[in-house]
């Protein structure tokens, strides 16, 4: 079954409410995401990033487009990214040098070497990193948005879940709870066609993820995930409705995972012609560039300037931290509890 979803919403001739600067800004985030991931991949193959490396190639559009629709900054909206939502984190203000430090387990990284890749937070900037157990972030975000509601704050939460993730118990419990509580929560279900090697036919018995949403009694919509502006608009609509008190909004974005599950997966199970089509005919950045140029919103030189700036920015960020030290072993001990402050050093390490 080929997956060649036609765009279900037309890209609007004029993107509502966006200025030229903002259009360029969106482009910058797309390019930044992709270039940063390329650098991370290289670093992984150079043994500087260890553990594993997961890319969002082909999904940059839906990450950036959806996050861009949120109120950013302190006391703004909060999103919870998954492993392929690096773009969302960059939009919320995560800095490439921090991300590089985190991936490379540097002592000065956001989690001081304790956690991998995107598993880190900045609640002031507005992102709450995941843990590996999929679905777990949904009840957590339900709780966060419930607090917004209880405090009467006009803030919204946004949580991502993959097509595979919708099979977990915590997805079900979290979404159900949020729905019943009418939390101001936007759930972005990324139908990217692959959960590791498992296709949707083996994951669920409905055709589209919006079909599941019906079961929870929440408003749902689908959007072409590789049309950045469409994702932006659809998310903006959902966010406004949530902020207005309409409860949980479920937005399915149709996209495609163009790399394997992680760097060590050669994705041989993905039909090559399908992969090829998505890469050549439906790359979100290519489509966006085409739109920008066609509609004369920006010119090519401005785009290549951004490309160059992004390249330099990533190089500088890498140079800044690639040689930084790893954390000292003993720094693993503090912080298990507020009180006591640190775990004991075990006796055989004291000898």
């Amino acid at each position: 079954m080929a997956s060649r979803t036609r765009p279900t919403t037309q890209s609007p001739p004029l993107p509502a409410g966006l200025t030229r600067e903002q259009l360029l800004g969106i482009y910058r985030y797309l390019r930044l995401t992709r270039t940063l991931e390329e650098r991370l991949t290289a670093l992984y193959r150079q043994s500087k990033v260890i553990g594993g490396l997961f890319r969002s190639l082909g999904q940059e559009g839906e990450s950036v487009g959806s996050a861009y629709a949120l109120e950013r900054g302190k006391n703004g909206d909060i999103l919870s990214p998954l492993i392929r939502n690096l773009g969302s984190m960059l939009v919320m203000g995560a800095r490439p040098v921090e991300i590089l430090r985190q991936y490379m387990a540097k002592a000065d990284g956001p989690t001081r070497g304790r956690e991998l890749n995107v598993h880190f937070n900045d609640l002031e900037l507005g992102y709450l990193g995941q843990i590996s157990h999929l679905g777990d972030m949904i009840p957590v975000m339900a709780g966060i948005t419930l607090t917004f509601k209880l405090r009467g704050e006009p803030r919204v939460g946004l949580v991502y879940i993959g097509d595979g993730g919708t099979s977990t118990g915590t997805f079900h419990e979290g979404l159900n709870f949020a729905a019943v509580q009418r939390c101001p929560l936007v759930v972005i279900a990324e139908y990217n066609r692959w959960a590791y090697s498992t296709p949707p036919e083996k994951q669920f018995a409905v055709k589209d993820l919006v079909d599941k949403a019906k079961g929870y009694g929440v408003a749902a919509a689908t959007v072409d995930g590789n049309d950045v502006l469409a994702v932006y608009q659809a998310t903006k609509l959902a966010v406004e409705r949530a902020r207005g008190g309409a409860g949980v909004q479920f937005l399915e974005v149709k996209t495609y995972r163009r790399k394997g599950h992680a760097e060590h997966d050669d994705q041989h199970y993905e039909p090559p012609d399908e992969l090829d089509w998505w890469a050549k005919q439906n790359d979100p950045i290519d489509r966006y560039v085409k739109q920008l140029i066609q509609h004369d919103w920006v010119d090519e030189r401005e785009l290549s300037d951004v490309d160059e700036h992004v390249r330099v920015e990533i190089d500088e960020a890498t140079d800044a931290c690639v040689d930084e030290p790893l954390p000292q072993g003993e720094t693993a001990l503090p912080g298990v509890y507020a009180n006591p402050r640190a775990a004991e050093r075990l006796w055989f390490r004291n000898l």
């Binding site: 553990g51 992680a262 040689d323 030290p325 390490r349």
Partner: protein, 447 residues
């Protein structure tokens, strides 16, 4: 010019090795940062590996087709970035067969774990808490030296060995399995060696400190004082002290003394009450062996000899010379021995052997006027007899016709402290009753 290492990457958690399948650059080729340098193949995936830096491919360490563990140095790039410090190579996961460490990685090494102190002889930290038992201030180390471990106690019990007599080479000086097995193998005597009565077997006893006030005079213990102080504490801790008080009617003894004193003096012997008492004790220690014993672990040692120590109060302290084989001596022999030992104690002429191997002790607080005392047992014995002052006192006596009257008799208390671990009240009192009876009916023939 700086040299940057290129390592075999780890593509996946369980991957332990990789094969260089193809070099994409030759030695001496220039290479840009992130430009593909070589191809690898692993159990899971094949991949192109990009160069970590711009520069020139200066060394190739692993050839095409060669399989090496992850983190192995595969190539070296020479870069003209000045003073590039080598990145800390991601530390190789420790392996059962450790992969070769990447060669020549200068620069900040991965932070080493804090250096551990030199281990020439590992000093295990004391893991047992400091004892604050109700019994005193025994520390964990002391307890360990005294009681060692379950295994050593088991071996000691099986062979009737006193752990405290063995020198220990283990932690805190404790007796180890090897120590006790060696001790047994060498045929060391099962019974503990008799010690100086005043010596504390487990080393000096720490006495609590007290702040002196202005006007106080502080004087450090003399050796004999230290020995006495330690022994008194140790004895109290060791034995279950109980004291039994008997009143003895010495009227007959007094009579005998009066009668024979002169004759004894001619022979150079001072016939003291102490001699009579010692004679009475000697006879009865044979009859009540539990009072002439020692406690060792869970064993009672019934002494083969009867050696009575006579405590002597000197200006500089207390000393207990011992009359050996008292049960073999006559009254005059005992008297002479007591005189002699007392004299030589006062002139500091006692031999070491003369203050050892006592099996029973007599002390004489009565000489200073004390009515009765409750003396501390002289370890490792189980009983000590205190003789109270002997003087004329009124006493109720029954006349031959059955009437009672008050008479003036020579009376004195004897108080025996005994170790209730092995000497029961009945034992002690039967012994004392016999001693009393003998003194009250002292056989003239024994003189």
């Amino acid at each position: 010019m700086a040299r940057v290492d290129v390592l075999m990457p780890q593509m996946g958690e369980s991957i332990a090795e990789g094969t260089v399948s193809k070099w994409l650059k030759k030695l001496g080729d220039p290479v840009k940062r992130d430009e593909p340098l070589f191809e690898i193949s692993t159990d899971k995936v094949d991949a192109e590996i990009p160069s970590p830096t711009a520069g020139v491919l200066a060394e190739i360490r692993v050839q095409e087709g060669q399989t090496v563990p992850v983190q192995t140095l595969v190539a070296v790039i020479e870069t003209d970035k000045s003073a590039t410090v080598q990145p800390a190579a991601a530390a190789a996961p420790s392996a059962a067969a450790p992969p070769p460490k990447p060669a020549a990685a200068p620069g900040p090494p991965p932070p080493a774990p804090p250096a551990s102190p030199a281990l020439d002889r590992p000093r295990p930290p004391s893991t047992a808490p400091v004892g604050k038992g109700g019994d005193g201030t025994e520390t964990a180390d002391e307890r360990l030296r005294r009681r060692s471990t379950p295994l050593v106690r088991k071996i000691a019990a099986e062979h009737s060995v006193d752990i405290s007599t063995i020198s220990g080479t283990g932690f805190a000086g404790r007796v180890t399995k090897q120590d006790i097995l060696g001790f047994i193998e060498r045929g060391a005597p099962a019974a503990p060696v008799s010690r100086l009565p005043a010596a504390a077997p487990s080393g000096p006893v720490p006495h609590p400190t007290v702040e002196p006030w202005p006007g106080d005079r502080v004087e450090p213990f003399s050796k004999i004082r230290k020995i006495t102080a330690d022994h008194m504490i140790m004895s109290r801790r060791t034995s279950a002290h109980v004291t039994s008080f008997f009143e003895v009617d010495y009227t007959r003894v007094a009579e005998l003394r009066r009668k024979h004193k002169a004759a004894y003096a001619e022979r150079g012997v001072n016939l003291t009450y102490l001699a009579f008492i010692a004679k009475a004790c000697a006879e009865n220690l044979r009859r009540h062996p539990v009072v002439n014993a020692a406690v060792s672990g869970d064993n009672i040692i019934y002494r083969g000899e009867v050696n009575i120590g006579i405590a002597v109060a000197l200006e500089w302290g207390l000393i207990v010379p011992v009359v050996k084989h008292v049960d073999e001596l006559s009254l005059v022999g005992i008297a002479r021995a007591i005189n002699d030992l007392g004299e030589r104690a006062r002139t500091k002429k006692l031999l070491p052997d003369e203050i050892q191997r006592g099996t029973f002790t007599i002390t004489n607080p009565g000489v200073f006027g004390s009515y009765a005392g409750a003396p501390i047992i002289n370890q490792p014995q189980v009983a000590i007899l205190g003789v109270g002052t002997i003087e004329k006192r009124p006493k109720v006596v029954t006349l031959p016709d059955g009437t009672d009257t008050i008479a003036i008799r020579t009376l004195g208390m004897v108080s025996m402290s005994y170790d209730h671990r092995v000497v029961d009240g009945a034992d002690a009192d039967r012994f004392l009753a016999d001693v009393k009876r003998m003194l009250e009916d002292f056989p003239e023939g024994a003189i």
